[in-house]
Structures are given as structure tokens and as C-alpha cells.
């Protein structure tokens, strides 16, 4: 009976997939959703590639997943991935349906799948990746994720015992998940270019999980990421893959792999993405790829810059910076970046939750976990909180110490281009939530038009 149900689900999903293609619609999870509805254990029945890598974590999982799949592609592997789709159970099922034959056998040998942390309980009981890479765990949307300790407990409960884990040794929270599983750690030494981290509001672990004493951080990169220890003996894990240095002039990354020195091309110049590249290198090395194979693939790979876009005209540079709204750490990283850039700056903030603004009222508590204080610098000339929550944004900026005369709240993004005091600044930053990409793109076009008119 189970087999019959599975085939009905598979063929129905394939028909839906075909219909979606013919109609030219986006249905990144619908076929999988239908399949799971018809056959609840569908993920356990569909054929799986010989090797499956799951990528999870709060921040960076999309980048790591795409980078790993791209590098494998460049090595000539035929990779199954959900890079264009959803990362929940239905999205994973949709990718597997896409990569399977009419009998449900996988047509691919390897899969790299992004997996949402909260979907662990819906995916792992049926579908067991050979490797699970966890980039990091930070506090995220309080409604969905509660807090990082909770997400770590969910992962520990549901991660299959057979999965080998690839973990970030510099993150005391994610490095401790599923303690009985086989594991490999990656980490990064303090780089020459790195100054001491500023105090962040959010530090998701500050006391020893063993004894409750205050942890001593020998080096803190940002938030709780770094190297810490406790007098009881508890300490950060020792990385098997340790990035020793990053040479930004020649774009080279030196990595000690269990004591052996290797060199790779660096394909990014941000610390966050070096972690992502290092995570991708670690998983590829664990798959048995040689340094030479990885290096050759890296030379033909770029980090997809969908979250960062910069353009200059008439002496003004406009930078678009996307971050997950409701995610205090992602937004704080953006504020930290802006504060370290030189020049007179104007910042527009477009973080209102697009779904809440029409039907409910957004829970704005998360903005008090964001380091708005980083924006309070002498070279900030104007900051524009946008949207229905503009007054909340203004309140947060005032509490952060930003002088009132620098704050210009606007109720709608369409007003941003007319509000910017162009003559006072040479850098304009447009910060926006993932779901406001189209709106922010329009704002950018209007701002560029205004700048062209300044000549």
C-alpha cells in the first residue's frame, strides 16, 4: 500500500512540475508539498543520490550551499541542488523529484541541499544526509526560531546518528550539536586585518554551558564567534581545517589541514564569506577532492553577490545591502560594515516585514537586538527609517544616540529618493529586507536618476 501511495505521489508531483514548467510559473516547493501530502514518508521512499550533503545554520547556508554546488559543478560532477528553490521539507522533496526518474530512482550521484534548521524534525527522520554542514547558530526570528539554544536542541534531537558533521569551531553553540556524531571542525585564526570586535548587543553564549561561569574570550570576531574558554576546562573546539591567513592583495587563503599547509584562491574579501569559502573547502576535502581539484574549480567560481550591489556616478557611490529582516545579527553585520567605510554617509533602512504590514502589526522587539549604535558616527549625515514602522525606527535610532536632526523618517519607500540630502554625502547605503528586493531595486533606480541629474 505504501509503495502504491508513493508512486501516486511521485507521478502527481511530476505532473505538477510539468504543468508549472509549461505555464512558466515559479513553484519552488509545490510539487514536493503535494507529494508529502499524498505520501507523508515520501522523503524516505524517493531514491537518493549516492552522496547527500545537507547545509544548515542561521546565516550563510545559501552561500555555502551554492558555492559547494558550483565548485562540484566546475569539477564535472552532476549535482542535484535546491539552490533555486525552498529549503523546507517540501523544497527538498521538490529537488529530489526533479532529479529522479519516473520510477523514483535518482538520476544524480551527488546532492547539495540547503536545509532549514526548523525543518529538521520534518526531514531527518526520513531523509538522512551523509554529511550535514552547520555554518553557525545565532538568534533569528523569535516567532519561528525562539532562540539559538532551542534550535541547537532541535538539531541535536533530529540529526541522524549516521551523518558526519562539518561544524564551525569558532561558534560555541553550533559546534556542540549532536555530540555523539562523527565530526570535523573548521575555524579561522585572527587575521592580520582584524581589529578587536566592538561590543555587540547580541552574544548568544556568554556563560559556560558546563558550569555557568563567565566565559573568557581570547578573541571575539563578532557576537559570540571567536575562541573562548572557561576555568572549568570547557573551551572552543580545535579546528581540523584552520584558516591561518588571508592575503587580500594576492587573494590567497592559507589553510592548515590537520597540520598540513595548503593554499587556495580567495574568492571573497569579507570575513563572513571567508567562513563560507572555508566551509565549502572543508566539505569538499572531506569528500576526497584534492587541493588541486578545488583550487582549479575556485578559479572559475565567484561568490554570487545578490546581497551586495554597488555603483558610482558623479562622485556618489550607492550601495545596496540586503539582510534578513528579523535577524539581528545579519542586520548588525551590515551596520558594522557601513560604520567602517569612509566618507560622508546617508543610510536608508527598509526592514519592515512585508507580510505583517498589511494583515497584522509587526513585532519590532528584534530591532532592539540590532546594533543601531554602530550607525551613530560623525560621518553619518542622514538616516532614513522607512515604512509603516518609521516612528519605531526613529525611536531606536534616538536611543542609539543618533541626533534627531540626522533622522528623517518616511512612511513609504517611494519617498526615499526625494528625501535624500544628496549634496551632503558621497556614500548612500540602501539597506533592505530579503522580501523587499524589488522595492529596494526601484528605490535604487530612482536614487541613481537623481544622482545623474546632479551633474
Amino acid at each position: 500500500m505504501g509503495a502504491v501511495r508513493f508512486y501516486i505521489a511521485l507521478w502527481s508531483a511530476k505532473l505538477i512540475q510539468l504543468a508549472i514548467k509549461i505555464l512558466g510559473k515559479n513553484g519552488t516547493y509545490f510539487p514536493g508539498k503535494a507529494a508529502i501530502k499524498l505520501c507523508p514518508d515520501f522523503l524516505g521512499r524517493i531514491g537518493r543520490p549516492r552522496t547527500v550533503i545537507g547545509v544548515t545554520g542561521t546565516n550563510g547556508k545559501t552561500t555555502v550551499c551554492n558555492m559547494t554546488a558550483d565548485l562540484l559543478d566546475a569539477m564535472g560532477e552532476d549535482v542535484l541542488s535546491n539552490r533555486a528553490g525552498s529549503n523546507i521539507n517540501a523544497g527538498v522533496a521538490t529537488a529530489l523529484i526533479e532529479g529522479s526518474s519516473l520510477t523514483g530512482k535518482s538520476k544524480k550521484k551527488i546532492a547539495v541541499l540547503e536545509i532549514d534548521e526548523r525543518s529538521a524534525r520534518l526531514i531527518y527522520p526520513y531523509f538522512k544526509p551523509d554529511y550535514i554542514l552547520c555554518t553557525n547558530l545565532f538568534r533569528d526570528s523569535m516567532r519561528r526560531n525562539a532562540h539559538s539554544e532551542y534550535i541547537a536542541s532541535v538539531l541535536t534531537e533530529y540529526i541522524p546518528k549516521t551523518s558526519k558533521l562539518i561544524l564551525n569551531a569558532d561558534d560555541l553553540i553550533s559546534s556542540a550539536i549532536a555530540p555523539d556524531n562523527e565530526r570535523v571542525y573548521f575555524g579561522m585564526e585572527r587575521l592580520e586585518c582584524e581589529s578587536e570586535a566592538r561590543e555587540n548587543i547580541v552574544r548568544d553564549i556568554s556563560v559556560c554551558p558546563e558550569c555557568g561561569r563567565t566565559l573568557t574570550f581570547d578573541f571575539r570576531r563578532y557576537h559570540h564567534i571567536g575562541r573562548a574558554r572557561c576555568e572549568c576546562g570547557f573551551a572552543s573546539k580545535t579546528p581540523d581545517y584552520l584558516a591561518l591567513s588571508a592575503d587580500f592583495e594576492n587573494m590567497k587563503l592559507k589553510v592548515s589541514e590537520r597540520g598540513e599547509l595548503r593554499e587556495y584562491s580567495l574568492i571573497t574579501d569579507t570575513i563572513f564569506n571567508i567562513y563560507n569559502e572555508l566551509a565549502a573547502i572543508t566539505i569538499l576535502r572531506e569528500l576526497g577532492k584534492t587541493t588541486e581539484e578545488i583550487e582549479k574549480a575556485l578559479k572559475n567560481t565567484k561568490v554570487v553577490q545578490s546581497r551586495f550591489l554597488e555603483e558610482s556616478k558623479n562622485g556618489k557611490t550607492v550601495t545596496m545591502l540586503m539582510a534578513k529582516g528579523l535577524n539581528a545579527v545579519a542586520c548588525s553585520r551590515g551596520f558594522d560594515y557601513i560604520s567602517r567605510e569612509s566618507g560622508k554617509k546617508i543610510v536608508a533602512l527598509m526592514y519592515d516585514d512585508i507580510f505583517d504590514e498589511k494583515n497584522t502589526s509587526e513585532n519590532i522587539a528584534w530591532i532592539y537586538d540590532v546594533d543601531y549604535e554602530f550607525l551613530n558616527t560623525d560621518d553619518l549625515v542622514q538616516v532614513i527609517p522607512c515604512g509603516v514602522r518609521a516612528a519605531d525606527g526613529k525611536m531606536r535610532l534616538l536611543i542609539a544616540g543618533v541626533p534627531e536632526e540626522k533622522i528623517t523618517p518616511v512612511r513609504c519607500e517611494a519617498e526615499v529618493a526625494d528625501t535624500i540630502r544628496y549634496t551632503e554625502a558621497d556614500r548612500i547605503f540602501l539597506l533592505y529586507d530579503v522580501y523587499r528586493h524589488n522595492i529596494a531595486t526601484k528605490v535604487r533606480a530612482e536614487v541613481m536618476k537623481k544622482i545623474e541629474g546632479l551633474a
Binding site: E149, I201, T360, W366, Y368, D369, A391, L398
Partner: protein, 232 residues
């Protein structure tokens, strides 16, 4: 004026630390003491004007109960004596009788007659609109627990969830102890309540950035009262 913040290194989830950041702006002359988990609380030997504790993880609740247990009688004495407390999110549960989860029972300080129940499989997310002393109160809930309470409630429920699903009140008020499941920057969100609290501790006058705070409050209140908008 002395303000004590209890265990801010762990009791800081969900934007709750915004309350104390705002209070510092409202009371620039006050002395703020951040008591760490390994420190003896200020209230043991002195009597602060105001004591604050914010939301924490479920595991941290056990740690906090352990640290506060030796001072149980002193906390009771301070509450009876009228010291002003504000405990937000799940922090008031530590002063209750017990916190029950599916596989565990944590004994609280037993100062408040409340018994909390955790359900880690279901998170309650909701907006809240209530009344406290004729003042409108707005806020947010995001929690795994509810509680049975024999204490006087903090606010009357107008919309949203109370202390438990059937409760007509939210939180606990005992003398000048205010405990609420509302999380995040409730002092920033509720200018009338903040002014009330400041007057209670003898700091009369304007609250910080009052005009902007009231503007944001007015807008939020209208949204919370709009029955076409859902609360969860």
C-alpha cells in the same frame, strides 16, 4: 537613584535589553548596576529603587533559580516592602512555584503563586492589547509556556492571550512587582506605563524622546484595535 539589572548576560533575549537602554536615557542621573550570574545581587545588602530582569532560555531559568534561591526571603521582603520590580518575558516564572515541561519539573523560588507549563513543541506568538490602571498596554508574546496563577494580574486582556489561554488577565502584580509575559522593549512601546513606573520610583518628569514614543504608540494602538488585523 539605583537601578539593578539582574543577569543581563543571559536574561537578554528578544530585544528585552532595550528596556534598560531606554531607562538609562530616561534617568541619566541614575546609577545602573548590571549584576552578573557570578555576582552577589545589589539588592542583598542595599535596596535599589528598581530591579529589572528580562527573558531567558529555558536552561537559563534553572541557573537563575539556583542563583536566586539563597536570596528568596530577601526578594520576598523587598516585594512586601514595595520595591519596584519589572520582570519581562519568562523571567517572572522563576519566582513562581514550579515550571513543568513534558519530561521535567523545575522548582521555582515559590514567591509567587504561579505554576508554569512549557510545551516546547508549540510556540505561542501573539500581539497583546490590555488595560492597566485605565492605561492601554501594547506588547508582544512569543513563548513556549503558559501559567496558572492565583496572583492578581498585571493587565486586563482586551485582545490576545493572557497568562494562559483562558485567563482574563496577563502577568502578575504584587505590590510594586510587575511580572509580564510581554517581551521586548515594553517600556519603549508604552509611554504611559513608563511614566507611571518612573513616578512610582520617585522620578517624575518627561520620559526620553516622548513625542516620538507617543507617535509610535498611537499608531501601534490603532493597529492593535483594528479587528481586521490578526494578532498571531
Amino acid at each position: 537613584m539605583q537601578i539593578e539589572i539582574l543577569y543581563p548576560e543571559i536574561c537578554n533575549l528578544f530585544g528585552d535589553s532595550g528596556n534598560m537602554r531606554y531607562l538609562r536615557q530616561c534617568l541619566p542621573e541614575a546609577e545602573f548596576t548590571a549584576t552578573k550570574l557570578c555576582d552577589e545581587p545589589l539588592f542583598v545588602k542595599e535596596t535599589p529603587n528598581f530591579i529589572y530582569m528580562g527573558s531567558m532560555t529555558e536552561k537559563s531559568q534553572g541557573r537563575v533559580i539556583e542563583r536566586l534561591m539563597p536570596y528568596r526571603e530577601r526578594i520576598d521582603e523587598l516585594i512586601d516592602g514595595g520595591t519596584c520590580f519589572l520582570f519581562t518575558g519568562n523571567s517572572m516564572e522563576v519566582l513562581g512555584e514550579s515550571i513543568k515541561s513534558n519530561d521535567d519539573m523545575l522548582e521555582g523560588l515559590g514567591i509567587l503563586k504561579i505554576r508554569a507549563k512549557r510545551d516546547m513543541k508549540n510556540r505561542l506568538n501573539s500581539l497583546f492589547l490590555g488595560k492597566f490602571e485605565k492605561m492601554d498596554i501594547v506588547g508582544f508574546h512569543s513563548r513556549f509556556s503558559t501559567a496558572d496563577s492565583e496572583e492578581r494580574g498585571f493587565a486586563e486582556v482586551i485582545r490576545g492571550c493572557g497568562t494562559n489561554a483562558d485567563s482574563k488577565t496577563e502577568g502578575v502584580r504584587k505590590n510594586n512587582f510587575f511580572g509580564t509575559y510581554l517581551l521586548g522593549p515594553i517600556l519603549v512601546l508604552n509611554p504611559d506605563f513608563t511614566r507611571y513606573l518612573l513616578e512610582l520610583i520617585g522620578a517624575e518628569g518627561k520620559i526620553a524622546f516622548e513625542e516620538t514614543a507617543r507617535q509610535a504608540f498611537k499608531l501601534r494602538l490603532a493597529e492593535f484595535k483594528d479587528m481586521k488585523r490578526h494578532l498571531d
